[in-house]
């Protein structure tokens, strides 16, 4: 079941950014394809969930409508 709490997605985004900041100092990790894909996915997925949630919320609408039913 999908997590409908935006704080969860915000936490994921923060974790993704923190990991990126950490690996930025370690060249071998930074240029590792698997690590790069994982971190990128973490950031992008969390970011788009937040965009979806908050932009619907700003219109007074529930993005998670189907999942809450």
């Amino acid at each position: 079941m999908i997590v409908t709490n935006p704080l969860f997605w915000f936490a994921l985004l923060v974790i993704g950014v923190v990991i990126f900041a950490v690996i930025l100092k370690k060249q071998e990790l930074l240029n590792n394809t698997y690590v790069a894909v994982a971190v990128s996915l973490l950031i992008a997925v969390a970011y788009f969930h937040l965009v979806d949630h908050y932009l619907m919320d700003m219109q007074g609408l529930d993005y998670w409508y189907l999942f809450r039913k």
């Binding site: 690996i23 930025l24 060249q27 930074l30 240029n31 394809t33 790069a36 894909v37 971190v39 990128s40 996915l41 950031i43 992008a44 997925v45 970011y47 788009f48 965009v51 979806d52 932009l55 619907m56 700003m58 219109q59 609408l61 529930d62 993005y63 409508y65 189907l66």
Partner: protein, 657 residues
């Protein structure tokens, strides 16, 4: 020394004259501003449901014992505030030659033609100075002297085209006024009476615009260095401010015709000109038009460059016009990308203002025109992408992207086909029976907004991706995190596509009142790609290794036809959207205030409208070609001097000024 001082003196005089011209309308506007009830009384926005204090005061005084002549009050049809009636009611016209003089021709078609031509030229001459401002500024801040000179020459080329078109715009404006006065005297008289407080401002702004553009153009050579150059570029800012205000004033008329405000239900002016100007649709129209004008202007200039490219005799000329076409196309497309979103906002406000109006537009009488519009938008984006793919061919190192183009074509075509799928189609009873209903069992699913929003956002995101590939075509990032950056960019785009498509599918499973909001995160997803990925690409490409120079002029001829196609599609779409916006009033001159009782107050067939639009487009292009030709007459040959080719740069412009 003396020469320089004289130049400075003349520049300062010119600037003073320009500021004077700019201030003149403001001074002339002062009596109008002072007469505004809200401002004169120091009050703010009137509260809904009750008269504003400054309006109520004279009314109260009138109601007192020593009241003078009785003051009649009316209620604003939109703002719902009360105001003192200061105008005559909208005329009740009848189908006779007093209100609608006859000239053995459909008056509406004549007016349509005059209006459309004026609008085309008006849009062009408002957009091009904005280009000049941007390009001239780029030239000033450029550290590369050769590039600075090229930018300066390009800005000059742009304004030169604009100047000839400017005269034609003024002539067409005059023709338009005469057409109104001759064919629709009652309507024009009423509209003029409503906008009387700002009519003179419009005229004076036009004078200021003319003065500024001439000083700007003729002062180019005299103000080409140092502080004077900055003064010159500031003049372009002033020029564009005037142009934008002019456009916004003109928009207030069409805004008033569609969504009147500041008048009572009989159409009587209530003394607040700001209410008349600031109607429900004014701001969306302003934003939509300024973006549309820029995209259109970019298209026309790109077509001009393509025409000159195709007619070029030398490689040097070809290089210059190839570069010019690219810059114009890039500016045009930069404004094309947000244009659908501005259009969406406008439609949203139309629905908010009158739901029926929105339904007439997108779900009723005019819905088929929106299918044509969708087709045109698709053509615009396909042409832009095609041009950029062709342009990759003039860069060494860009070959690596060529193999992905076929996938992008696939994505674009799928998005395009979904975007243009109609909800229902016109059918014979036999066809209806064979299909089992009004909607096709499979394709019918794509005829709803959920799918269409997905389709257009996929198209725009793909265009952004093409642009980014073009920007990095001949470059190799040298930053230490280049691999991570590339992967991040790929993942971000992939997730954006998934999010857009997911939201489109999700829309089918939730109620309409929730579904309608999904378009906003879809747009935000596309804009995230545009802003974040362009910025990321810019950072990654800073100090990048050049794989080879951009070989300006070495581009296929097909690409130039794509530019001409782009410009023609812009022109056609502008004509179409203007017709749609105007037609939505149906049988009203001013919506729900002044009825159109002429014999032509009906909606034309789609076929007739398309023919009329095509005629307008053809006429515009024939006349603008004449303008282009005139522009070439004044070109002097560049002085013959030693030119050192700079690797990776286009040769110096072939024309001088």
């Amino acid at each position: 020394m003396g020469g320089l001082t004289r130049k400075k003196l003349w520049s300062i005089v010119a600037l003073g004259a320009m500021i004077g011209l700019l201030l003149l309308p403001t001074i002339m506007l002062l009596p109008t501003i002072m007469s505004l009830p809200a401002l004169a009384g120091g009050g703010g926005a009137p509260a809904a449901g009750g008269p504003p204090p400054d309006v109520a005061k004279p009314a109260d005084a009138a109601a007192g014992k020593d009241a003078g002549p009785k003051v009649e009050k009316g209620r604003d049809v939109y703002y719902k505030t009360e105001g003192i009636v200061t105008g005559a009611p909208a005329p009740k016209t009848a189908d006779n030659s007093q209100f609608y003089p006859r000239y053995n021709f459909e008056s509406r078609v004549l007016l349509w033609f005059a209006n459309q031509q004026h609008l085309y030229y008006g849009s062009f001459v408002l957009a091009v100075p904005i280009f000049c401002m941007i390009i001239e500024f780029m030239g000033i801040v450029s550290k590369d002297r050769a590039m600075a000179k090229k930018y300066d020459q390009l800005a000059y080329d742009f304004i030169k085209i604009s100047l000839t078109a400017y005269s034609l715009t003024a002539i067409l404006g005059g023709i338009l006024i005469f057409t109104f006065l001759t064919l629709y005297p009652a309507f024009f008289g009423y509209l003029s009476s409503i906008f009387r407080p700002v009519m003179h401002v419009y005229a004076l702004m036009f004078v200021a615009e003319s003065g500024t553009i001439y000083i700007y153009y003729y002062g180019w050579d005299k103000m080409k260095e140092g502080l004077l150059k900055w003064i010159h570029v500031s003049m372009s800012v002033v020029l564009n401010v005037i142009g934008t205000v002019l456009m916004m004033l003109a928009n207030s008329w069409i805004g008033f015709m569609m969504s009147p405000a500041g008048v009572d239900e009989q159409g009587r002016y209530l003394g607040n000109i700001w209410h008349v100007i600031h109607t429900a649709l004014w701001n969306p129209l302003n934003v939509h038009r300024i973006l549309g004008n820029m995209a259109f202007g970019g298209g026309v200039v790109a077509a001009y460059a393509a025409y000159r490219f195709l007619a070029s005799k030398t490689d040097e000329e070809r290089a210059h016009y190839d570069w010019m076409g690219y810059i114009a196309m890039a500016i045009g497309v930069a404004f094309l990308i947000p244009l659908p979103f501005a259009g969406y906002w406008l439609m949203r406000e139309v629905y908010a203002y009158r739901q029926q109006m929105g339904i007439t537009l997108m779900g009723g009488l005019l819905a088929w025109l929106f299918i044509i519009q969708a087709t045109m938008i698709g053509i615009l984006f396909l042409s832009s992408n095609y041009y950029l793919w062709q342009a990759l061919g003039r860069m060494r190192g860009a070959e690596k992207y060529q193999r992905y183009i076929k996938y992008m074509v696939f994505v674009l075509v799928v998005g395009f086909l979904i975007f243009i799928t109609p909800h229902t189609i016109v059918m014979t009873p036999a066809e209806l029976k064979a299909m089992g209903g009004q909607q096709h069992p499979v394709l019918g699913n794509y005829g709803v907004m959920s799918a269409k929003n997905g389709g257009i956002n996929v198209i725009i995101t793909t265009t952004v991706l093409t642009f980014i590939w073009y920007m990095r075509g001949n470059k190799l990032s040298t930053v230490s995190w280049a691999k991570f950056g590339n992967i991040f960019m790929g993942v971000f785009f992939a997730c954006a596509y998934v999010n857009i498509i997911w939201l489109a599918i999700y829309g089918y499973y939730i109620p309409a009142n929730v579904r309608v909001g999904l378009s906003v995160p879809q747009v935000a997803t596309t804009l995230s790609c545009l802003f974040f990925m362009t910025a990321l690409n810019g950072v990654m490409m800073r100090g990048a290794k050049q794989m080879g120079p951009i070989e300006w002029g070495k581009i296929s001829v097909r690409s130039q036809y794509a530019l001409i196609m782009l410009a023609t599609a812009f022109t056609w779409m502008m004509g179409l959207m203007g017709y749609i916006r105007s037609s939505v009033r149906l049988f009203w001159h001013v919506n729900e205030i002044m009825r159109d009782n002429s014999p032509w107050a009906y909606t034309h067939t789609t076929g007739f409208a398309a023919n009329m639009i095509s005629f307008n487009v053809l006429f515009f292009w024939v006349t603008i070609l004449f303008v282009f030709w005139l522009g070439t007459l004044g070109v002097k040959k560049a002085p013959v001097e030693a030119k050192v080719p700079i690797p990776g740069r286009a040769p110096e412009p072939a024309v001088g000024h």
